[in-house]
């Protein structure tokens, strides 16, 4: 069985490794240059949670801006990189059963001396194992590559796209994509429909988890700070801000997704108090609903757990369905 699995998939394995090598050849130089710039601009120093002098803060601001000017476009690349797990699902998962049935070879292999349940377990197991190895490599590589971008961005590692790229979640996503592909193949039994369903299902589930579930893995915290003061409170950097706004002292939301920062005692151009033209009463404050930055690994664990559990369920259903295909 192991020999057969290797013989059947060695070409695909070769192409996958080749693809990853090409990807690495492109991304590693970019990553290295990003790190150089990061170090040259002295940004590591800026991001330490320690009070900076006025002048140092200025330099840091300029440095951060220069860094993002130069590398912001890479966020687009990051979006593309997110699609890699589903590609593995499309090309490794979907054809696993669908291709056998489409070409009729399931009638050959399932009537040999190994039963089809064992066939399914060995095959799913080997492909699953290979995919886990692949995604561990991908997750580690991406964590390294995306680190400077994440540090320079205000939102940090919990940010919507970078969270999905690094750490252990790629393992969950990739396993899920492959399991979904295999399962779709046992239901639709043709490669193209199975691939289509896999793509649609993967995007649907990922989007649903990302938008509906992830913000609620832990109760979000709120923080408030006055609109008159010396900037954002310490430790704000890296938090994942779910909602923000300006509220009046009685708690009513005046302006959603906004934030005001006036110097102490500052007046508007017409002499009125800070923010009065928006309808802010004295004592109005900035309000934020957020997930703190230190929950990164907890959220990674929860999200990975969800997708691994879904993958296991899909594989179980796939094994059951394999027993009914003739």
């Amino acid at each position: 069985m192991i020999w057969l699995t290797w013989r059947q998939h060695r070409k695909l394995a070769l192409y996958t490794l080749l693809g990853f090598a090409v990807l690495a050849a492109v991304l590693v130089p970019i990553g290295l240059s990003m790190r150089h710039t990061f170090a040259d601009l002295g940004l590591a120093e800026c991001l330490r949670p320690s009070a900076l002098s006025e002048a140092a803060a200025q330099t840091c601001d300029v440095g951060l801006r220069r860094f993002s000017d130069r590398y912001d476009s890479l966020n687009l690349v990051a979006v593309l990189l997110i699609s890699l797990p589903v590609l593995v699902g499309l090309f490794w998962g979907a054809p696993l059963v669908a291709r056998e049935v489409e070409q009729g070879t399931h009638r050959f292999v399932w009537t040999q001396g190994v039963g089809r349940t064992r066939w399914a377990l060995v095959k799913f197991g080997l492909v699953g194992g290979a995919v886990v190895l692949l995604s561990v490599g991908y997750g580690l590589g991406m964590s390294w590559w995306v680190a400077p971008l994440t540090q320079a961005a205000h939102e940090g590692r919990l940010g919507v796209i970078v969270f999905d790229l690094q750490g252990i979640v790629p393992i969950g996503y990739t396993l899920f994509a492959v399991a979904l592909g295999i399962f779709a193949g046992t239901v639709w039994k043709r490669m193209l429909p199975a691939m289509g369903i896999t793509l649609a299902g993967f995007i649907g589930v990922r989007a649903a988890v990302e938008m509906l579930a992830r913000p609620h893995y832990q109760p979000a915290r709120t923080q408030t700070f006055p609109i008159e003061g010396n900037g954002i409170p310490e430790g704000d950097r890296g938090n994942w801000i779910l909602a923000a706004g300006i509220r009046n002292p009685d708690g009513t939301m005046v302006a959603e997704n906004a934030r005001i920062q006036c110097p102490p005692g500052g007046k508007g151009p017409d002499g009125r108090a800070c923010g009065a033209e928006l309808g802010l009463q004295p004592g109005a404050y900035n309000w934020e609903l957020y997930q703190p930055a230190d929950r990164f690994w907890l959220f990674q664990g929860i999200e990975t757990g969800i997708f691994v559990a879904l993958a296991v369920l899909l594989l179980y259903l796939a094994v059951r369905r394999v027993r009914r295909i003739a």
């Binding site: 057969l4 013989r7 050959f108 009537t111 040999q112 001396g113």
Partner: protein, 296 residues
């Protein structure tokens, strides 16, 4: 007599249509049996049930006394070549022989290599690039390497040209003659199998129309030609299988249970093909006038 394959009111349904229904038959050991019926008669379904690919929806099928669905142990006694001889097309014949060895406990790789060498099959070309006849031979060699006690072949010669057909059947007969393997092979054309089989199962419209040893079938059927027949009893005739009439004359194909002595009838021997055609014509075709929106 030892029964290799037994079906008892076996049925299989796809949705609401029965692909096979109330199928009862017994295949004795050592026979070369032809499973004949038009396309869609349920031949593949019966073979898939016998090899355990399908689970019966009603009744039971037994191969060597075991129920084949989900029975991995029993699989080693059955060699199966599916329709269109599906093989991994990018594998070479030599690799397929290795694959078979990995997938089976009992596997005679030497036998397979010997056969393939004798047939001049190149060992290092992907089987997808071989001719249809060669590919069928590879599939047969793989099935025989399992040293099965029952060999099931689903339309093995349907896609082959006449020469390749003859070669395929010859090599099949040559190899099972020594081992005493029971063979069940299907075709929609009796002519393909008539020369090699000694047992016959006729399927039509998802039901068994006729089953028995070829010699018995030929011996017990007769063609009667005589005056126009109105359905009355004829001495020695168990059943009228098929009747055609002109104004004054009737031609009947009958199953006999004794000599037909009535001098009004001219009795003729029939060929196996006559018998099969008579039973196949008996199957009713479901008309679909309403689906087509045309008058009946």
């Amino acid at each position: 007599m030892d029964m290799v394959l037994e079906a008892d009111r076996l049925g299989k349904r796809y949705g609401s249509t029965w692909a096979l229904r109330d199928c009862s038959l017994h295949l004795p050991a050592g026979r070369i049996a032809a499973l004949v019926g038009p396309n869609g008669a349920g031949k593949s379904t019966l073979l898939h049930l016998a090899v355990g690919l399908l689970k019966p929806d009603s009744g039971a099928v037994r191969v060597f006394g075991r129920s084949p669905y989900g029975d991995t142990e029993g699989l080693s006694d059955i060699g199966f070549v599916a329709q269109d001889t599906p093989l991994y097309r990018d594998f070479t014949a030599a690799e397929l022989v290795i694959a078979g060895g990995k997938l089976n406990k009992r596997w005679d790789a030497g036998l397979a290599r010997q056969r393939l060498a004798q047939l001049g099959i190149p060992p290092d070309r992907p089987v997808g690039k071989l001719s249809g006849g060669q590919r069928a031979q590879v599939a047969l060699a793989l099935a025989l390497a399992k040293q099965p006690r029952l060999l099931l072949l689903d339309e093995p010669v349907a896609s082959l040209d006449p020469l390749a057909r003859r070669e395929f059947l010859q090599s099949l007969m040559g190899s099972v003659a020594e081992s005493g393997t029971t063979v069940l092979l299907s075709s929609h054309l009796l002519a393909d199998l008539e020369r090699v089989c000694d047992f016959l199962i006729v399927l039509n419209a998802s039901q068994v129309q006729l089953t028995g040893a070829v010699d018995d079938l030929v011996a017990e059927h007769r063609q009667l030609v005589g005056p126009r027949h109105d359905g009355g009893v004829i001495g020695g005739v168990a059943a009228v299988v098929r009747a055609s009439h002109t104004d004054r004359q009737s031609t009947l194909l009958v199953r006999t249970d004794g000599p037909v002595t009535d001098p009004a009838w001219t009795v003729r021997d029939v060929s196996l093909e006559d018998v099969v055609l008579a039973y196949l014509a008996d199957g009713t075709t479901q008309t679909s006038h309403s689906e087509w929106g045309v008058a009946a």
